[in-house]
């Protein structure tokens, strides 16, 4: 019986649970499970909406052998045209525990390429993972979206940042820096030096808003053509991504001289072992003309600091947003957050070596909103 890839329906749910059980009993990681409900909880298809998620399953004689998800969204490009683009995520194949199904991973991707001509992947946790390895071999264009961080509480950072505390010597050294205050002094001095480069900004004001509304749209229209590629960020899209009912996010409206200049969405991430007991805040999403990035970044950082976080992180592809983060005291760190574009999407972004720093890609363009907050 051949494997057929089809939309995930309620009738497949029990087979998906059995698929997940086989993966787990075969030794796959705890996070390698497919969605057990056919209807996406986040961004389910809705009438007329171009922002939605769809799931697909690979079925062999009633048995599920794999699945993947597509997040469909409208993107604006440098040529002024908006196009539907799909984000391919959560591909899972029985091939990871049973070599008889080694071909399922490639079948899933082939299916997605047929359903969504403009396709991208994001995140993927580094080039050593199976999916990015596959995409590189398939000739997808790819780059790392830079990762920025700002240490709000040096003591907590030195004591809790597990990724830095891998050996006994490192733990001893970091504890020494934390307890003597030398770490605090060093981090603050470095931050002070970076902030010396911060240009003096005209005064701006920041307002915490409950919801996004029509005031967002002129900002969207004004700035969209300044980015080589950006997901549509009009007010309807923002209301879908960050509904007023979702208390995890803080929504910021930034004004200058009585005019809106940008907005940001910030939030505290769920606890994650690699950050220990630290409270980690994220600049999840943001928008402005590239030259107005700095006040928006400063507003976002101030809101997170006020919320009590120990560390602030952000991924930003655009050069001027990166510069704004640096000017606001952020450091850049090696990133494992990969953007990879399929052949058709890549053709719209050539030469990608230049375009990558003119695109507006953030964490909000992935699937992390419900998972990480």
């Amino acid at each position: 019986m051949p494997i057929v890839i089809q939309p995930y329906r309620e009738e497949h749910e029990s087979a998906v649970r059995e698929f997940n059980q086989r993966l787990q009993s075969g030794g796959a990681g705890d996070d390698l499970v497919f969605f057990e409900l056919a209807r996406p909880r986040w961004l389910p298809p809705a009438d007329g909406s171009k922002l939605l998620q769809e799931y697909f399953v690979a079925v062999e004689n009633g048995v599920v052998r794999g699945g993947y998800a597509l997040k469909q969204q409208s993107f604006s490009f440098a040529d002024g045209v908006s196009r539907n683009v799909a984000y391919y995520h959560h591909p899972l194949s029985e091939g990871i525990v049973n070599k008889s199904y080694a071909a399922v991973g490639a079948m899933l991707l082939k299916d997605a390429m047929g359903r969504a001509p403009l396709l991208y992947c994001l995140g993927m946790a580094g080039y050593d993972r199976p999916l990015p390895k596959m995409l590189v071999r398939l000739g997808w264009s790819h780059f790392l979206v830079p990762f920025y961080f700002n240490i709000v509480h040096p003591y907590r950072f030195l004591r809790e940042m597990q990724a830095l505390r891998g050996t006994v010597f490192r733990r001893w050294l970091l504890d020494l820096l934390a307890f003597t205050g030398a770490g605090w002094a060093g981090i603050r001095a470095a931050e002070g030096l970076r902030k010396l480069r911060t240009p003096k900004l005209p005064p701006f004001t920041v307002e915490r808003v409950e919801d996004f509304s029509e005031w967002v749209d002129p900002l969207w229209q004004q700035a969209k053509n300044h980015y080589a590629m950006t997901a549509v960020r009009d007010f309807q899209t923002l209301r879908t991504l960050y509904p007023a009912s979702d208390a995890h996010f803080t929504r910021l409206r930034v004004h200058r001289s009585g005019h809106d200049i940008g907005w940001a969405v910030v939030g505290e991430r769920r606890k994650d072992g690699k950050y220990g007991a630290m409270r980690v805040g994220s600049i999840v999403d943001c928008w402005a003309l590239p030259e107005d990035a700095l006040p928006v970044v400063q507003a976002a950082s101030a809101a997170l600091i006020e919320n009590g976080v120990d560390l602030i992180i952000s991924n930003q592809s655009h050069r001027l947003w990166g510069r704004a983060l640096n000017q606001a005291g952020f450091l850049i760190s090696p990133s494992n957050f990969i953007f990879a574009a399929g052949k058709n999407l890549s053709a719209l972004l050539q030469p990608i070596a230049e375009t990558q720093s003119q695109m507006h890609v953030t964490r909000a363009d992935g699937d992390g909103l419900p998972r990480n907050f």
């Binding site: 051949p2 890839i5 079948m107 299916d111």
Partner: protein, 83 residues
């Protein structure tokens, strides 16, 4: 000289797997070509789509077991495609 579809498919395989065309036969398969794994299988299918201007489904991709089957599938798709 007109190349047969099999010859053209052999050329696609030769370019992709970096092997001399005369070493690619209708029977060449993942069992005989070391570099032919599941990802190269997808690359092979994508290269055939581009070369012949057709679309193959994941199920058709999975049915291809060797170069000869790929050529037969391409021929059948070309025959059935609207002109």
């Amino acid at each position: 000289m007109t190349l047969t579809i099999l010859d053209q498919v052999r050329k696609v395989a030769s370019d992709l797997f970096v092997l001399p065309a005369d070493r690619i036969t209708a029977e060449s398969s993942p069992d005989t070509i070391e570099a032919w794994d599941s990802i190269q299988h997808l690359n092979f299918v994508l290269a055939l789509e581009e070369k012949f201007g057709l679309q193959l489904s994941p199920e058709e991709m999975e049915q291809i077991r060797n170069v000869g089957e790929a050529a037969r599938l391409v021929a059948s798709k070309l025959q059935n495609s609207p002109r």
